[in-house]
Amino acid sequence: MIAVQRLDENPCRPRHFKPPPCVAIIPDGPAKQALEACRSRLLVTGGLFALVFAVVALRVVEIVAVGGGTAESQIARFRAVTEPAPSHADILDRNGNVLAATLDSPSLYANPKQIVDATEAVNKLVRVFPTLGAAEVYAKLTSGKSFVWIRRHLTPAEQYDVNQLGIPGLEFEHEERRVYPDGDLTSHVVGYTGIDNAGFAGVERGLDDVLRGRREPLELSLDLRLQYILREELQRVIDDFTAKGGAGLIMDVNSGEILAMTSLPDFDPNRPTAPDPEHPSIPLADRMFNRATLGVYELGSIFKIFTVAMALDCGTATVGSTYDASHPIRIGRFTISDYHGKHRVLSVPEILMYSSNIGAARMAVAAGSQTQREFLARLGLLKPPKIEVSEVGTPHYPAKWREVNVMTIAFGHGISVTPLSFATAAAALVNGGILRPATLVKLPAGYEPRGRRVISAKTSEQMRKLMRLVVEHGTGTMAAAPGYVVGGKTGTADKVSGRHYAERKLLSSFVGAFPINDPKYLVLTMVDEPHPNKQSHGYATAGWTVAPATSRIIQRIAPLLGVQPVDESSPEVQRALMVESLQGKRIEAY
């Protein structure tokens, strides 16, 4: 009012100016109603806004104070670039050497609809890939489809060359490829994969589920250095004695870890179907066959260690027991005779030392068929071995365990097992009597998996002493490795051909453990059909073939494994390996 008055009182005010009324004019009637409606609408709108802002404010408080929902929802937008996990984890050996790796490998495809000049494109492509069929590629490029593979799995250099060609319509598809840097060295253990990285053999197949979608590499128990030595020495035996093939493995007897396992002939997992450049005549099926885990063999005399252990453990024999081995045993149509015949009564150590079939047969008969079957079952020899590779062989053994079977099984005929099963069981005989499953996966250092007691510690100790005798005085003298106290057993089996045993076809094997006074490692070597040569004086038996190889292997691997050499003639070692029943007796050379 004051302002109005003041304006009115202003003498300089224009005449036509009328000051606006400053007091709210309260309209009546319909105008008032309209104003009220406006006000209420404003209120509702304001309320809505307030509500929305309250929600926003609450959300802000939630994000800041409470943590704001899941972290994933916040970083989702930053996930534009992430590394795709390799479809399969790498495989390493126990020292971290790469055995199998998944690498990026682009594949070249074409969109024929975008190809301008097919003839020129083909000419250029053939220059980069000389092995590519020009006619075939031309047919593909003029097919009118919108997607044709030109070549899978290019090397980086090839990819660069194709990019340099600058042909429109050629594209790369991101793919992965398994590479095996060590090639045929670990072929049977690691195995190989197909073009889409599905495991086809070995650990690749056996542990496919584990490897798939795993980021951390898988460490195997394998030691690449040992693997190389084992394979090289085995190959040497095969070459020297023109054998068909062979298998070998090195095992940690206290943990069951397999440190090396090889089967020869083998293949290159990078090109599994390509012929071997050095031996093109060997059929593919033979090279792909894993003799160590899939092949089942009548291993022959090395089985006698089980016969002796059984007899000692169940009490039907002591180390001092004797068996008449003066005459061959005739049973049914079989005649059991000795290869290194002594034609006299032999004691238990002598049966093992001279590898007497007659003695072993009599020992097994004395124990009985039930005991023998149960004992072999306890050692896991009547079931396929459990191992991480997919190829495992089912043992063959007689359904009805008759007396003749008892006798032949006593010296390793009439029962076929895989070398792996044999080694696992033999490790239990020397390690104190605990059977531990063989494994290809690296165990933590010092970890001893829980095993199953199969023989008493005392029997195991006796077995170690007897196996030492075989190397000291018996059939396995060539396996001796001075300083490493090797103990073992030779085995030379006649192979079955058709329904008969073939005299000329042998399977020579040797199982050795060292240092036998406190066994740490076991070496099993086997060669299939060795032929005598001049150096071996016409022999192809285990004592002349695989026993010297075992000696060489042990001398080479022991320093790598950290085994301290000892003086074998020292009183401590002599005392630890003394066989009481032979004390004071002259030990006859076999």
Binding site: A80, V81, T82, E83, P181, G183, L224, Y228, Y484
Partner: protein, 168 residues
């Protein structure tokens, strides 16, 4: 008065708007850079994987064996080369005292055939040696004969051990 506050809010609003867009574009460019870096890291990781595989290929036992054969000819370690403790190492025999000290010094580095004989026995014998051997000169035996192990600076580990063993 009213105009001033309006101006203030206008400026504030535009400043906030500008800041918001600046931050937004800043974040976007940072995100782009992050993605670029991530892509580079992944490319680098793939390259490393390829290099690791290549390294494994280049250092496979077969190649190393071949290279060793060509350049080094190292053989497997024999048991003779392994000793469990220092005391197992045979002590080098002290060179028998000779008249001409120059010859004695020249002989020392060469492996003596008596190297396996413990020092104590040699030390007890050596003073008598000059009398057995032919007298090459009239000069009295040098100090070396009186003190078989002269405490001088050892030139090799064997010498050091021999000295320590002799002084015990």
């Amino acid at each position: 008065m009213i105009k001033l506050s309006t101006l203030f809010w206008l400026v504030l609003a535009s400043a906030v708007g500008f800041a918001m867009f600046a931050v937004k574009y800043g974040v976007q460019s940072l995100e782009d850079e992050l993605n670029r870096t991530k892509r580079a890291i992944i490319a680098e990781q793939h390259a490393i994987r390829a290099d690791e595989a290549e390294w494994a290929y280049l250092t496979r036992p077969e190649t190393l064996d071949e290279m060793n054969r060509r350049h080094l000819s190292l053989g497997p370690m024999s048991t003779k080369q392994l000793r469990t403790s220092v005391t197992d190492i045979p002590l080098r025999a002290v060179a028998p005292a000779v008249e001409n000290p120059i010859v004695a010094v020249a002989d020392q580095p060469a492996e003596s055939p008596q190297s396996s004989i413990p020092t104590s026995t040699v030390a007890s014998i050596s003073p008598e040696k000059p009398t057995d051997g032919p007298q090459l000169s009239k000069a009295p035996p040098p100090k070396a004969s009186a003190k078989p192990v002269a405490p001088r600076r050892p030139r090799s580990l064997d010498e050091l051990i021999a000295q320590v063993a002799a002084s015990r």
